[in-house]
């Protein structure tokens, strides 16, 4: 093994960079640097900040679980947890139901199908903050167009106070979130629907299956894997939503619409308590993991049970 090589050995570095792993490392380098510096490190730093009393302009000291103990006794924090769960569950269910409905409609033979598909996706494309501004104007307490139309029809006497009353505000922000989320769910599920072979439905129809049976016994099971992924994403985006609330209510009235993300922002940036804000953000992680695991594995299991993987 110690024979003199026929060609002179090239430097170690050059040989390493030509090996599979060396080349892989070299190619991964830019992405890895970015993600390590601005994703992994901040994630760890966020957890660390949650254990400190850092404020803006002052490095903090380790104070153990004090932030969490403080939050545990903070009714506003628990209100925001409740709001976040309510917001996520109601909005996700509505987005799923309406999105699936819209996807089924678009899966029919329609004229101008691609055109419809294109305009339906608009709410998803337009910056959330800017469409939320339009909703802010639509929800105006005096000049809301919805109130005006309802008053013209004689259904109500005074304008609805959309964002000023806790439950109205909750319903209004959920409606705006659903409006923005339907296109994503509908178009993704439509893509899934189009992968289902028409012959399966025809075979079921020949065997005498009603359209409801065909939907529940053929279409839905085949669509389950895609539903799982789409809804995982949808739940994730809804749970961590910030923009819509920040534009429409800033958490008001009297914290009735504060989500964990907006509360974390409010405590950390305008309030200056970086440590406490980070603790609230960290408190979101278990919920997120639970939501991901639930929707992903819960729905994925059905796929391998049916044995088509």
């Amino acid at each position: 093994m110690t024979d003199v090589p026929l060609t002179p050995r090239r430097p170690l570095l050059a040989r390493f960079l030509e090996s599979r792993n060396g080349l892989g490392l070299l190619f991964m380098l830019p992405a890895a640097v970015f993600l390590l510096c601005f994703l992994t490190y901040p994630l760890g730093l966020g957890v660390w900040l949650g254990f400190t009393d850092t404020r803006i302009g002052r490095t903090g000291e380790f104070i153990g679980l004090e932030n969490y103990i403080w939050l545990f006794d903070d009714p506003i924090f628990w209100l925001s947890v409740y709001n976040t769960i309510l917001y996520t569950v109601v909005a996700s269910v509505l987005k799923f139901g309406l999105g699936l409905w819209l996807a089924l409609i678009l899966n029919e033979h329609l004229p101008f199908k691609t055109f419809f598909r294109a305009i339906i996706l608009l709410p998803w494309v337009v910056p959330t903050v800017l469409s939320a501004l339009a909703f802010w104007w639509i929800y105006d307490s005096q000049f809301s167009i919805i109130s005006w139309v309802l008053m013209q029809w004689g259904l109500i006497d005074t304008p609805i106070n959309f964002l000023g009353q806790p439950n109205h505000a909750r319903a209004s922000v959920i409606a705006a979130n659903v409006w923005r989320g339907i296109p994503f769910v509908a178009i993704s599920l439509l893509a899934g629907l189009q992968t289902i072979p028409q012959s399966l439905n025809e075979a079921a129809a020949l065997d005498g299956a009603t359209s409801w049976q065909r939907f529940t016994k053929v279409t839905l099971p085949l669509l389950t894997p895609i539903i799982a992924v789409v809804m995982t994403f949808s739940v994730l985006f809804t749970f961590t939503d910030f923009q819509l609330i920040y534009v429409l209510t800033r958490g008001g009235p009297v914290n009735a619409t504060h989500l964990m993300a907006t509360l974390s922002f409010q405590r950390a940036i305008p309030g200056g308590q970086l440590g406490e804000g980070a603790a609230i953000a960290v408190a979101m992680i278990p919920f997120l993991l639970a939501a991901i695991l639930f929707s992903f594995f819960g729905l994925q299991r059905r796929r391998w049970q049916q044995g088509n993987d």
Binding site: G24, F27, M28, L45, G46, I105, I120, L121, S131, D140
Partner: protein
């Protein structure tokens, strides 16, 4: 009780629907076209309202009794002129464009290399890396913005466009890499093998063989990344404080909303103008956009 009432009607409805060829026109209108029309009306109305408010003169804006709110009598460009010449709006547009272009370019560069390495060089642990990249996509910005603000401040790029250009790739790279991995998988191995036999290096293969074939995938990823960074809000809100560095979403919300009197005309023109670039871009590349959105989901 309600259940009992429902079941017979459900039974009859099922019977007729089982035979598509007897689907009457009325039924089709009720089941397909009417709901579709309602959906489209609801989904598009906010944009119509935004657009019509942007060109309404102030005195018509809230005077619903004299002027129909759904129409505009003497459209005016006053709000848009005010926006373009008396506020920092053009600067915000420029900032947004610059940040979106730069971060998209950076992300595409890093993602192409990473996706190629994971998918084709197949180094030890490539599969795990691919999975980690996917998990990185699931990390939401609302968890990261506080520590990132801390880092941005310590590095000394707080309140600069560079802060946004460097942080946006955190959510763009995972997405683009994941998308491009799926795309590279569809390019046949044989092309690469024959290039290797001809003595091409890995980098040459990537630039001369793979990338030309992956142009549609690059466009999809690029368009999507561009719109994502155009729409980004929480980082821009946290890291930028001076007016001349703001992006459109942040600028419109923090500088055009003043006091209790809302200038709806100016606000809505700001929202309209800020949406137009992405909408125009989107309208040219609808199919790419849809394929990148559904592609990320289908993998």
């Amino acid at each position: 009780m309600a259940k009992k009432n429902l079941s017979p009607t459900a039974g009859t409805r099922d019977d007729t629907e089982g035979m598509d060829q007897f689907n009457t026109v009325t039924r089709r209108i009720l089941v397909v076209y009417l709901p579709l029309a309602v959906f489209i009306f609801v989904l598009l109305f906010p944009f119509y309202w935004m657009a019509i408010t942007a060109i309404k003169p102030d005195h018509q804006l809230t005077n619903y009794d004299r002027y129909s709110p759904f129409w505009v009598v003497e459209p005016t460009l006053d709000h848009i002129r005010y926006l373009l010449f008396e506020t920092s709006y053009p600067g915000w547009l420029w900032n947004t464009m610059l940040v979106a272009f730069a971060s998209t370019f950076l992300s595409l560069f890093a993602s192409v290399l990473a996706a190629y390495a994971i998918e084709r060089i197949r180094f030890t642990g490539a599969r795990t890396t691919g999975l980690l990249i996917f998990l990185a996509y699931l990390v939401p910005p609302s968890i990261l913005f506080i520590p990132l603000a801390f880092i941005v401040f310590q590095v000394g790029i707080f309140d600069s466009r560079l802060a946004l250009i460097l942080t946006y790739p955190t959510f763009l790279i995972p997405f683009c890499t994941w998308l491009l991995m799926g795309y590279f998988r569809t390019i046949p191995f044989e092309l690469e093998e024959s290039a290797l036999v001809d003595g091409a290096s890995r980098f040459q293969i990537l630039t001369k063989v793979i990338l030309p074939l992956a142009v549609p995938g690059l466009i999809s990823a690029g368009i999507f990344a561009f719109t994502l960074s155009w729409n980004e809000f929480i980082y821009a809100l946290t890291f930028i404080s001076s007016s001349e560095n703001k992006t459109v979403p942040v600028g419109v919300l923090t500088e055009l909303v003043r006091g209790d009197i809302y200038e709806w005309g100016a606000l809505m023109s700001g929202a309209l103008l800020g949406s137009l670039p992405v909408v125009i871009l989107y309208s040219f590349f609808v199919d790419y956009y849809v394929s990148s959105m559904t592609g990320a989901v289908k993998e």
